[in-house]
């Protein structure tokens, strides 16, 4: 059996390893379009602050790991011939497969503004991007960051600690609108402003003018900021363009998969950011684009590629953890709440601490927090365990910090 995996990120690597375990005689080919060994984009912020070197970002530390059971091919997938079961690479090479996994992840979206393709503009997505940013960052350099989403925020520490003068332009009305509610998003903005970051929300970059010595970033409201470096972190979308022509059904820009992680075309599977998979909380299909989901997808897809129907996906819970210049925020599941559900929150504005819990009847279904890190995973346990909280719901409504106690009561009858 020949398995071809397109993509060498966490979903692809975990899938390749899982296949090797389940079908030791199978041929596993993993195609990646970056020259580096498989690495984690999650680790790039820590590379930028010099906590680790490039090797520290590698998914697998053993240099010989790929090349034994897994053949790692460098190349760019350009198209798939689903009938012939052939993957075509941009350089003309062809790879035949019996089962194909689309684990191509996502790529940054550039906002459609004049000057976005100029030399001083970079994304922060790949190791190559990180090298470019590191080379430009220096004390006193002025930097404009487009987007205060997850990626924008997680690299703020690196930008601030380099001594750069920093301006952040976010379209939404608050920071990280996709994982923080108004209260926590606003509080995070205050935190950043106190660290000397110029944060503009409900603001849009209108153009970037390029001059020999600087770029001038024009921002809505007649504002402009000079920049030596512009970092665009305005969202991502799935890498699925190469599937055009293969009749693979897409949803939300990613490959629509069933509960076996199989696409609309038999033999073609998808995992990670490139897959629109089952969401545990909503029962709907969505692109979560987070590491734990990528890994879970990779394992389940692999099992089904080896033996179709062997593992049924139960749905991933959406979760995120973000460190913004030392302030840690977390979100789980349906943190925005559901109609008819109760909610409770506790806020300590001066200490930048916040917790928000969302219930459906007496079951926890979502949460977000700021500055709360102890035993934080228990929120996942409570949500995914779907425990009926009984009298502990009222206790949580009064004091949402009692999450550990509520869990112990639910699981051990404490």
């Amino acid at each position: 059996m020949t398995y071809v995996i397109v993509g060498a990120g966490p979903a692809g690597v975990v899938a390749a390893e899982t296949i090797c375990k389940l079908d030791p005689d199978g041929q596993v080919v993993m195609v990646g379009d970056e020259p580096d060994p498989p690495y984690s984009r999650m680790a790039i912020p820590y590379l930028l602050i010099n906590n680790i070197d490039e090797q520290g970002t590698y998914l697998r530390k053993d240099a010989e790991h790929f090349g034994k059971a897994i053949r790692h091919v460098h190349g760019f997938a350009s198209s798939v011939d689903a009938e012939a079961k052939t993957l075509h690479l941009a350089d003309g090479r062809k790879i035949d497969y019996e089962a194909l996994l689309v684990a191509t992840g996502s790529k940054p979206i550039l906002p459609p503004v004049p000057g976005i393709d100029g030399e001083r503009v970079t994304t922060c997505w790949t190791l190559e991007d990180a090298r470019k940013i590191t080379a430009t960052l220096k004390p006193g350099a002025s930097v404009v960051l487009i987007g205060a989403g997850f990626i924008g925020c997680i690299i703020l520490e690196a930008l601030v600690s380099s001594g750069a003068n920093l301006a952040v332009v976010e379209m939404g009305d608050r920071m990280v609108p996709r994982m923080l509610n108004e209260t926590s998003g606003e509080l995070l903005k205050k935190w950043c402003q106190e660290k000397g970051v110029n944060v503009m929300t409900s603001a849009q970059v209108e153009s970037i003018e390029h001059h020999p010595d600087k770029a001038v970033v024009k921002i809505s409201g007649d504002r402009h900021v000079d920049a030596e470096l512009v970092i665009s972190a305005a969202g991502v979308r799935a890498n699925a363009d190469f599937l055009e022509g293969a009749a693979v059904e897409l949803k939300n820009g990613a490959v629509a998969v069933d509960r076996h992680m199989c696409s609309s075309v038999p033999g073609i599977y998808a995992a990670g950011d490139a897959a629109c998979g089952l969401d545990f909380s909503t029962g709907d299909y969505s692109v979560q684009a987070v590491q734990p989901t990528a890994v879970e997808h990779g394992r389940i897809a692999a099992a089904n590629m080896v033996k179709h129907g062997s593992v049924l996906h139960q749905g991933c819970i959406n979760m995120n953890v973000l460190d913004t210049i030392g302030l840690i925020s977390v979100s789980y599941g349906q943190w925005q709440g559901v109609e008819g559900g109760d909610r409770t929150s506790l806020l300590d504005r001066d200490r930048f601490r916040y917790i928000n819990l969302q219930f459906d009847e007496d079951t926890l279904i979502g949460a977000n927090t700021l500055g709360v890190t102890q035993h934080i995973g228990i929120l996942r346990g409570l949500i995914q365990g779907q425990f009926k909280l009984g009298k502990w719901k009222q206790r949580l409504m009064q004091n949402p910090m009692l999450i550990m106690e509520a869990y112990l009561a639910a699981t051990q009858g404490a």
């Binding site: 680790i52 890190t373 929120l379 550990m404």
Partner: protein, 158 residues
């Protein structure tokens, strides 16, 4: 023989000696806030519950780590954080549904119970045998883990 921590909350008096021992063994200070084992107090029920990692088979923390910084110690069965590899991304802290991996702001790394390499100091310090280190088969660990299988996508793929 694989051993594991057996926790019997009925025997716990809430003296917190386990937290002191854990913090001293792992952090060199007597600071319950830095302990990997925690005693939860139920005032209304008059009950204390010691709680730490069960070194679960699912090893959510290990699988969630993007950079191979959590490895299983084959002698003790414990999932151990490799400080030199951990980048501090905290994904394991949200992935562990038992809430037993914590971020240590001082070091910028995560911490979790590693069974003290096979000689857990919490058990050694417990004066009432509420925490003991015994043959894994005898601990009723399965009961504690049972719920995990409900939502588990991983075990079958292994």
């Amino acid at each position: 023989m694989l051993r594991s921590l057996n926790i019997n909350p009925d025997k716990c008096t809430g003296c917190l000696q386990c937290e002191m021992a854990c913090s001293f063994e792992n952090e060199g200070v007597f600071n319950p806030a830095k302990s990997r084992i925690k005693i939860f107090t139920f005032h209304e029920e008059g009950r204390f519950v010691p709680y730490t990692c069960t070194q679960c088979d699912e090893a959510w923390c290990l699988h969630a780590c993007p950079v191979e910084a959590i490895k299983m110690n084959r002698e003790t069965g414990a999932m151990e954080v490799l400080d030199s590899v951990c980048v501090g991304c905290k994904v394991c802290t949200i992935a562990c549904p038992f809430g037993t991996v914590n971020y240590n702001q001082t070091t910028g790394k995560v911490i979790k119970c590693d069974l003290c390499g096979g000689d857990p100091q919490c058990a050694a310090a417990c004066p009432t045998e509420a925490i003991t280190y015994v043959d894994a088969d005898a601990t009723g660990l399965e009961k504690m883990r049972a719920w995990a299988s409900k939502t588990d996508n991983q075990a079958h793929a292994n």
